[in-house]
Amino acid sequence: MEFLLSGQLLVAALIIGSIYGLVALGLNLIYGTMRLLNIAHGDLVMIGAYTGYWLFTLAAISPVLAMLAAGALAGLTGAALYFGLFRRQLAGSQPIERIEANSLLIFFGISIVIQNLTALAFTASPRTYQALDTLVRIGEVSIAQSRLVALAVCLGLSAAIVLFLRFSALGLSIRALIQHRTASRIVGIDVDRVQAFTFVLGFALAGLAGTLIGVTEQISPFMGFPFTIVAFVVIVLGGLGNLAGGIAAGMVLGLIETYGVALTSANLRSVLIYGVFILVLVLRPEGLLQKRRLT
């Protein structure tokens, strides 16, 4: 059992956890402000991963730069979807439950379309590439540069977003929207502008994280869905709309997964993740709903 004390394992858990935290942050922002259940969130991770892959393979551009392009591309996708589809839905007079249910089905359709368009364009075959693969030694721990970059970027970016939401004017508007949708409109917040910004930001974060994930994992058109599930687990665990809580929950899930697998078997990883998912939803059926009661 002494392998459990290995620093290697701890670092691996922290890396996974920080990635989960950043991916979930995007989902949390969009759900929190607009009550849209973006079940296609993981597919933006996939788009980010492909962006990194192609930029590196065709133009030898480092993933560190490519992740900015991936963020921009995912953000643009977000803008197109917001202005093309969801703005009208949100502006209508439908009850919030209806918007939630519809958004889930619409995003599900979007997810299927994105995945299969990608499969059509790039085939469904998994791809990998070797970038930033120099090994870095820190004490006993040896780690590929790419994963160290992932850790630094995910933690840094998550912290930056939390600070931004706490201290900037736009950030305060977003938090106001998360806490009280109707009242925000009354106190004069430009809801449409804040929504558009949040939507694009949420998408961009997922795309950016995708590039970091794609350096170390196999890339395929269908790689995204597990990240959607994980992101849902994280935001339910961390508390809806509680962005800092979500980042902590990401870390917790990374630890549960890594040490859970180390103690049992890698075969049980999916059972573990889905088990936590079901438990959280069943034991706290009000968990996600709590905030909504305020509106």
């Binding site: 290697q8 691996a12 996974i16 469904a124 999916s270």
Partner: protein
């Protein structure tokens, strides 16, 4: 109204059926393969062999049908997206809708296994290639055969022989959840125990595993002499990346399926040196058939054949061609010809005992300076086994 809709549906389906071409002068030979999805990296090895064969046969004037006539080959290929369920539907479609004359095999054990009952239901003989299964062998099907010698029970004996000759006293076993890996493990564990080789780590993992760090940290702490990775292509790649990162220093490191594929060596260059894998063929001998196959493949595809999958696929079509030359396209005669005949192939004479190849010995290959060499059995060696020395 309802009659109208019913007729409409029926005619739409009929239109779908008409889309398939009617009986042509060619011999229609169908198969499905994992062109996309989890197993896609392995499929080109097999597709290339099929295409090369069809091209050569057609250049010779066509496929000899029972000595009576020669007809050109038309290959019909579908993508099963690495999904065995799709393979079942496709082979059903090939038989009932496309009405093909002959079938070639898909890639991989799960797919061979899945379509076995379709073959039985339609009594349609098909020679398998990149697969083997003790479980299927025990069910005694009558319409599928395995060209490979690498059936799990025989493999276990050979592996223990190789480990003992390399002086390996302890191992870690990492096993993909897919059937071929699991069957290998099932027979390997008792064989290791009988030989007094200690199993220090025994870890299973799912086919779509993303991170092996947790497993490899365990392996590193246990310091085994050997690592036996009962892996498929995708996880073989993952293993090399992570074992290098974690710093696995075992002198014997084995990966079941993957390293024999051409791109694998190109991808890792020196880091893959010393990796042992499954395979019993090499072009380095003096067999004329093998040399001709190797040269033709390299000329057409500008790369080496996969020493495992291209070879098995090629052997399967060599056998099919010879059986059809004897029996024609009649399914009953063909089944009889395959199960009783002896065939000349690039791995030597092949004869079947039930579903399995009764002749060819099981062997292993090792990557040495970027080339694959047969290191086992000893009498077929093209180079002696060398210990793996670091990750360069």
């Amino acid at each position: 109204m309802k009659k109208f809709v019913g007729a409409l549906a029926a005619s739409a389906l009929a239109a779908a059926a008409w889309a398939a071409p009617v009986q042509a002068a060619e011999v229609r030979i169908g198969y499905s393969i994992a062109k996309t999805g989890l197993f896609a990296p392995a499929a080109p090895s097999q597709i290339n062999a099929y295409n090369l064969w069809a091209e050569q046969v057609n250049a010779r004037g066509g496929l000899d049908l029972g000595g009576k006539e020669k007809r050109k080959i038309e290959l019909i290929q579908y993508d099963d997206q690495s999904n065995p369920g799709n393979a079942v539907k496709i082979y059903e479609k090939l038989i009932t809708q496309d009405k093909v004359d002959l079938l070639l095999s898909p890639w991989g054990t799960p797919h061979h296994f899945a379509i076995a009952s379709v073959l039985e239901r339609h009594k349609f003989p098909m020679i398998g290639s990149t697969a083997s299964s003790v479980q299927l062998r025990n069910m005694k099907p009558g319409n599928i055969w395995f060209t490979t010698a690498a059936v799990a029970d025989k493999l276990a004996t050979a592996m223990v022989g190789l480990l003992q000759s390399a002086g390996v006293k302890s191992v870690a076993i990492l096993t993909n959840q897919l059937p071929f890996g699991q069957e290998n493990k099932k027979f390997l564990m008792p064989a290791l125990k009988a030989a007094g080789i200690e199993v220090l780590v025994d870890a299973d993992y799912p086919p779509n595993i993303k991170d092996m760090t947790a497993i490899l940290v365990k392996v590193k702490a246990a310091k085994p002499d050997g690592v036996i990775g009962l892996a498929y292509p995708g996880d073989s790649i993952l293993y090399i990346n992570k074992a290098r990162e974690v710093g696995i220093a075992a002198k014997f490191q084995y990966l079941l399926v993957g390293p024999a594929i051409g791109f694998f060596r190109g991808m890792f260059k020196g880091a893959a040196d010393g990796i042992v894998t499954l395979g019993h063929w090499s072009p380095h001998g003096d067999d004329a058939r093998s040399k001709a196959f190797y040269a033709a493949y390299k000329k057409k595809f500008k790369q080496e054949p996969d020493y495992l999958d291209s070879v098995e696929a090629w052997v399967s079509v060599e056998i099919l061609e010879q059986a059809v030359a004897k029996a024609g396209l009649d399914k009953d005669k063909l089944r009889q010809a395959i199960s009783t005949g002896t065939f000349d192939t690039i791995i030597g004479k092949v004869r079947f005992d039930g579903v399995q190849n009764a002749v060819t010995p099981t062997g292993f290959l090792q990557i040495q300076k970027g080339e694959l060499h047969v290191v086992w059995p000893k009498d077929r060696q093209t180079a002696p086994l060398a210990p793996k020395t670091g990750w360069k």
